[in-house]
Amino acid sequence: MNYKKILLIGFCIASLTSCVAVREYEKVNLNDPDMKLSANSIERFETNFQIYREAASGANGGKTGGGCGCN
């Protein structure tokens, strides 16, 4: 992937910070447990076996390659 494109995409995403400011009292739906922006704790076991059985890892809160004799 072109590194310039990654950088440009990154700055465009950063510009989203100016688009909206939802107030705390308006975050009822966003605070729902199913809306959190991370994997559920029970998914750790699936992430672990995927790290062993697939070449890719990371960018999901799991291991990135250390701590185990895995890929």
Partner: protein
């Protein structure tokens, strides 16, 4: 020149937009909500089984049957209003037919790559502990954390540590984070039996005398250094998204010392039904990995939400991959129960050094027949069921049961590997 101007203009507009909106100053309330109200205990457990026909221990041909049980405890303790200590400890007890064939002659059956040996190498236990400390600022807009990690199994020992910093701003609509991790690991190599000093058998069948090109690895250390960046943004009252970028550098012994390789230009030798190896896999002693992932969650209504994830990955071993998953939580009984079907798709290209069973030649510098590094697609289908009691009415001693989570997934790989995993989680909160 036109593209440079366009890119520059877009960049400038993006930067100015960052400062366009005035955000009101956060007022320092006299009441400061605790980061974690009370001690929480998670008990998690999984049961995993798999099978396939491309075991790496026997050079890409052999049974991959494996069973694993992993119980884990996670305890989060609030030290005060701002600080939380989390202890995460678990074990993984596995039985593996392919690992048993590191020494296929120590059982009571004829040696065969498709038959598990009943000897000592058939099973093992992996133990892990992670301790994490986090501190939040008074306005909860800054979070610092540090952790240490230790893991051990019969052929691998790991010590890891790291830290992170997270900043929230724009009325906590925006969050950026940076995390650094270092793992200093060591192999205790368990080489295939035919490569160990003193190996000899009277029943070796083949042309000439059995010889191999095996040499022990001089360096048994394996280090991993990672830098992770994250960005999260609330998009509307019902939508939010995040993007993650990891930069990972590994060096040291990146081969798996007990995974055999067979050469097409070397004579074959057998004991019973088992072909003796020509060497173990040899991989470069450095690797640079870059995964880029993103999540998008959308609250459709009070009963249904949408959780999506995508990741693109590439490394300098020639592997590119795409991962995409979707989960649809469906609530009923006023949110007390949730059913969530899930689907995940994964595809990867092969590593530059991969070739199937007996397809490598002895003159190559790097080689592996580990199908985890081959070209394949995979599909994972599953469903979960969650029970959520916000008041934690069911008590065990001083702990109230807040959540019960059950999950099943079926995983199928295009090279024939398949797996099933059942997971369960129980969250307790202290009164």
């Amino acid at each position: 020149m036109k593209y440079i101007f366009s890119y520059t203009l877009l960049l400038l507009l993006s930067c100015s937009a960052l400062y366009a909106q005035e955000t009101p100053q956060d007022s320092l309330a006299t009441y400061k909500k605790r980061v974690l109200e009370t001690t929480e205990v998670d008990f998690l457990m999984s049961y995993y089984t798999q099978d396939g026909t491309h075991a790496a221990v026997t050079g890409g041909k052999g049974t991959e049957e494996l069973t694993d049980i992993t119980p884990t405890f996670v305890v989060a303790i609030p030290l005060n209003d701002d600080d939380v200590l989390t202890i995460d400890a678990g074990i993984s007890a596995y039985t593996s037919a392919s690992s048993s064939n590191i020494d296929p002659f120590d059982g009571d059956k004829p040696a065969d790559p498709f038959v598990a040996s009943s000897g000592a190498s058939q099973s093992d236990v992996w133990a892990n502990m992670n301790i994490n400390y986090s501190h939040s600022s008074d306005d909860r807009n800054d979070v610092w954390a540090a952790h240490v990690n230790v893991a051990s199994e019969y052929d691998y020992f790991s010590v890891g540590f790291g830290g992170s910093y997270t900043k929230l701003f724009n009325e906590k609509n925006t969050e950026i984070g940076v995390k650094a991790n270092i793992f200093l690991d060591t192999w205790n190599p368990q080489y295939p039996i035919e490569f160990r000093d003193g190996f000899s058998r009277p029943d070796i069948v083949g042309t000439g005398a059995y010889a191999n090109s095996f040499e022990k690895f001089a360096n048994e250390g394996r280090n991993t250094y990672s830098l992770s960046l994250s960005f999260s943004q609330i998009l509307s009252k019902n939508a939010q998204a995040s993007i993650f970028l990891d930069l990972v550098k590994q060096d040291g012994l990146l081969s798996t010392p007990h995974q055999r390789v067979y050469f097409s230009d070397v004579a074959d030798f057998f004991v019973q039904n088992f072909q003796l190896g020509d060497d173990v896999e040899r991989l470069p002693n450095t690797r640079f990995k870059v995964p880029i992932g993103g999540r998008f969650n959308y609250y459709i209504n009070e009963s249904i939400s949408l959780r999506t994830y995508y990741r693109y990955y590439f490394d300098d071993w020639g592997i590119n991959s795409h991962t995409a998953s979707i989960e649809v939580p469906i609530k009923f009984a006023e949110g007390k129960f949730t059913l969530y079907p899930t689907y995940r798709y994964y595809t990867q290209t092969a590593a530059d050094y991969f070739a199937p069973f007996e397809a490598h030649v002895s003159t190559s510098e790097f080689y592996t027949s580990d199908y985890d590094l081959s070209k394949f697609d995979s599909h994972q289908y599953g469903a979960g069921f969650k029970y959520y009691d916000v008041f934690a009415k069911l008590k065990i001693f001083k702990f109230g049961l807040k959540t019960v989570d059950l999950r099943y997934n079926y995983y199928s790989r295009s090279d024939g590997l398949s797996a099933n995993i059942i997971s369960a989680g129980f969250k307790f909160v202290m009164d």
